[in-house]
């Protein structure tokens, strides 16, 4: 209990320091507004918002302000996706796909205002749950992670890439793994971290320092989105917004257990490496439907269904930052973009991270969630108007923003070529239903995997048993193997038969 109080005291100090700085609000309000705008416009995503702001603010302003801008946009965008989900039945972001199931029927039934009020409140509560889980668990895990050595780090990085590939695949799981391996392969370019041996540079000096993370992020997340978005998507038939946008306290009180459960699920899913808010929303929605007494109402305008998905996707934010801050492994695609921001500021997330940064991240998340809540209640009509802006007007400006952001981080034209190349490859991969998140996570974790894997062998004089002789490493080897085997068709069928027998 003393530990919890000391954490809260530390958080209070960090919160106060940020709250009395007027510049905080300048970045906070503008970034949350931009985030909600990105979320509200179908085709623009939370990942894109964080990626573009990483390019624009990443290493140009003090880290605290950069984090305010990025986390504000992250929180805002995840929430903003609920607007088109409810009013247009088009999820603004993948995270809000489950929200559309009940949000749109509610809007069609003339309860759009109530639905938006509920999602605003649920998103706020969800973010707070995830944030406080981050505040408490990050320290517990940091304590554990101090005992993590090179073998565990290598296996954790591999597990993150494999898990992300497994869970993010829309088509075949193998495609997720291929994407992860392509990302790892990209990370191999440049001077190797132990011997400074040049690898795959083809005589181009620019490649000696490897692929820069920001142009890769921009290329992987922004360019395909822009190409896809220029497909001339007409804004659909918008449901009329009736009723005032106010938090329905009676419903919140009634469904408090649902909200709490969804917050916990969202945080848990977020803590899984590379999975993200969309999975959190669907998992929570599925669980809600299973355990609810009114499960049959889900999909027909159920308040409980709406709260299940919307609480979870925002709670996922705090969860996704746990593995990022503790291990340097991003818990979601936007967190991967955030990792890029840490990297270009020479901050290494992981066991050696400055604890003050974690406290500031928590304080920023709380401030961002309050800002989002206030904006959601009082400026919702502005975002509804923004919904009517065609993508064809917005996306060319996003392209220009991407170009200048990518150029300014490295200060060279080669970064733009890299961004464009990665962008076209990512678009092709999207066309063939390869998930992009594992690729980016592979690029980010590649050098960590390479370095720690070889260092483990170096310290054990080439003895491979170093990966099974330590308890933590052995568990991680088992997890990696189990994850791979679980996707083998033969094992899948055997597992299904076993389930059939026990049923």
């Amino acid at each position: 209990m003393d530990f919890v109080f000391s954490q809260l005291a530390g958080f209070g100090h960090a919160f106060w320091a940020l709250a009395i700085d007027p510049v905080t609000y300048l970045y906070l309000v503008s970034s949350v507004f931009l985030g909600i705008t990105f979320g509200a416009l179908p085709g623009l995503t939370a990942t894109l918002a964080v990626t573009i702001l990483t390019g624009f603010f990443g290493n140009k302003i003090p880290l605290d302000y950069a984090l305010i801008a990025l986390l504000g946009a992250y929180v805002g965008a995840i929430y903003g996706g609920s607007y088109p989900s409810i009013l247009l039945n088009i999820p603004g972001t993948a995270a809000s796909a489950a929200t559309a199931m009940d949000g749109h029927p509610l809007a069609k039934a003339g309860r759009g205002g109530e639905a938006l009020g509920l999602t605003t409140t649920a998103s706020f509560i969800g973010t707070i749950i995830g944030t406080f889980a981050l505040l408490i668990f990050v320290w517990v895990l940091l304590g554990i992670s101090k005992n993590i050595a090179s073998p565990e780090k290598a296996l954790l990085a591999l597990f993150g890439i494999l898990l992300s590939g497994t869970l993010m695949s829309e088509d075949l799981v193998i495609k997720g793994w291929i994407a992860g391996l392509i990302g790892l392969a990209m990370a191999m370019v440049g001077l190797d971290p132990l011997l400074s041996e040049p690898r795959y540079t083809f005589g181009w000096s620019y490649l000696l320092s490897g692929f820069q993370v920001v142009p890769v992020l921009m290329g992987a997340f922004a360019v395909p989105q822009i190409i896809e978005g220029l497909r001339h998507v007409e804004v659909g038939q918008m449901a009329e917004l009736k009723g005032r946008i106010l938090p329905n306290l009676k419903a919140i009180r009634r469904y408090l257990p649902t909200i709490t459960r969804s917050g916990v699920i969202g945080t848990g899913v977020g803590a899984l490496p590379g999975v993200g808010e969309d999975v959190a929303g669907w998992v929570s929605y599925g669980v809600g439907k299973t355990v609810s007494k009114e499960g049959d109402k889900f999909g027909k305008g159920s308040t409980e269904g709406l709260l299940s998905s919307e609480t979870a996707n925002n709670a996922c934010i705090g969860g996704a930052l746990i593995p990022l801050l503790v291990l340097g492994i991003p818990g979601s695609p936007p967190a991967a973009a955030l990792m890029g921001a840490f990297k270009i500021n020479n901050v290494i997330p992981g066991p050696t991270i400055d604890p003050a940064i974690i406290l500031r991240v928590v304080a920023i998340l709380v401030l961002a969630s309050f800002t989002m809540f206030i904006m959601g209640l009082f400026t919702a009509r502005i975002f509804i108007k923004i919904l009517k802006i065609p993508q064809t007007i917005f996306l060319p400006i996003v392209m220009v923003l991407t170009a200048i952001g990518s150029f300014s981080v490295g200060g060279g034209i080669n970064d733009l070529y890299l961004m464009l190349g990665v962008g076209f490859v990512a678009y092709m991969m999207n066309l063939m239903k390869y998930p992009i998140a594992p690729l980016v996570i592979g690029v980010i974790l590649g050098s960590l995997f390479d370095e720690t894997f070889r260092r483990s062998l170096f310290l054990s004089d080439g003895d491979l048993s170093v990966f099974v002789s330590r308890p933590g490493a052995a568990i991680l080897v088992a997890l990696n193997v189990a994850l791979i085997i679980s996707q083998v068709p033969l094992a899948k069928r055997a597992f299904a038969r076993m389930k059939g027998k026990t049923a």
Binding site: F56, F57, K60, I61, D171, L172, I174, K175, W177, I178, L181, I182, L184, A185, M188, D192, L194, L195, E197, R199, Y200, V223, I226, I227, L230, R231, H232, P390, T392, I393, L395, P396, I397, M399, V400, L401, A403, I404, F407, S408, G411, I413, L416, Y417, M419, L420, G423, F424, Y427, L431, M432, K433, F449, D450, F453, R454, L457, F458, D461, G462
Partner: protein
């Protein structure tokens, strides 16, 4: 064929080609990796690294894994009929309109990034791109997209050909040509805006968006921006430091 089956058939046909490309790519990089010393070596009498610290170790695993996964994908694609559909237009999901759309966007992005951004004033280059993209894709008019792509390609190709080497990036002839292209493309945009009111804001967006961005980046964040010697930016920078800044500095 049901739509779902149809989509899967298209995917498997694409997977067939993708797996072949991945096999080729992984074999190529495995060959490239063979150039990195693996079992230690002697360089000028100094013993090199052991196999387990070799820079080739992890890449071998990665490209080996990629090769295996690509082979599995190939077998899945063949068993699902991907190879049978591989050469038919329907099989790979070829859609002329879609291909044209992607082609025009790719042309615009390529010439913008490779030709215009390094050489042409950022405001002019981005103004042309914004105008071309909005005019080309708003409303889904295929001919407009072709015209827009052609205009951007013309400006970009001229910049690439006329001022290819970095030593010539400060020349202004490509700035002027791009500016004329931008103005030229704005004329049909304004004409079309009689029917489509939303197009009226295009000239404003096309100028002010890159103008604000480049000024924020250069003077707000004090970062490097592309083509500092560009037609507009050179003047903006001069007047910022000579005319405006002394007002609050002194």
């Amino acid at each position: 064929m049901a739509p779902q089956q149809d989509e899967t058939a298209v995917l498997r046909a694409r997977d067939f080609w993708a797996s072949l490309a991945l096999i080729a790519l992984s074999l190529f990089f495995l060959w490239k990796t063979s150039a990195i010393p693996l079992f230690g070596e002697n360089r000028a009498g100094v013993s090199g690294a052991d196999w387990y610290t070799s820079a080739a170790l992890v890449p071998l695993g990665i490209f080996g894994g990629l090769f295996v996964l690509a082979c599995i994908l190939l077998s899945i694609a063949i068993r699902s009929g991907g190879a049978a559909h591989a050469l038919s237009a329907v099989g790979i999901g070829w859609d002329r309109a879609e291909a044209q759309r992607f082609g025009t966007i790719a042309v615009m992005l390529f010439f913008y990034i490779a030709g215009l951004v390094p050489r042409v004033d950022f405001i002019i280059a981005s103004g042309l791109l914004i105008t071309a993209m909005i005019f080309g894709y708003h409303g889904g008019h295929a001919r407009r997209a072709l015209l827009s792509a052609a205009v951007v390609a013309l400006a970009g190709a001229y910049a690439l050909i006329a001022h290819g080497p970095q030593a010539e990036w400060n020349a202004h002839s490509d700035d002027w040509l791009t500016l004329f292209c931008w103005i030229g493309l704005t004329v049909p945009v304004l004409r079309a805006s009689r029917q489509e009111r939303v197009l009226r804001i295009v000239p404003l967006l096309a100028f002010f968006a890159p103008f604000i961005l480049v000024c924020a980046m250069a003077f707000g964040f004090r970062q490097n921006v592309p083509a500092r010697g560009g037609l507009f930016f050179k003047q903006i920078e001069y007047h910022y430091y000579v005319t405006l800044r002394p007002l609050w500095k002194d």
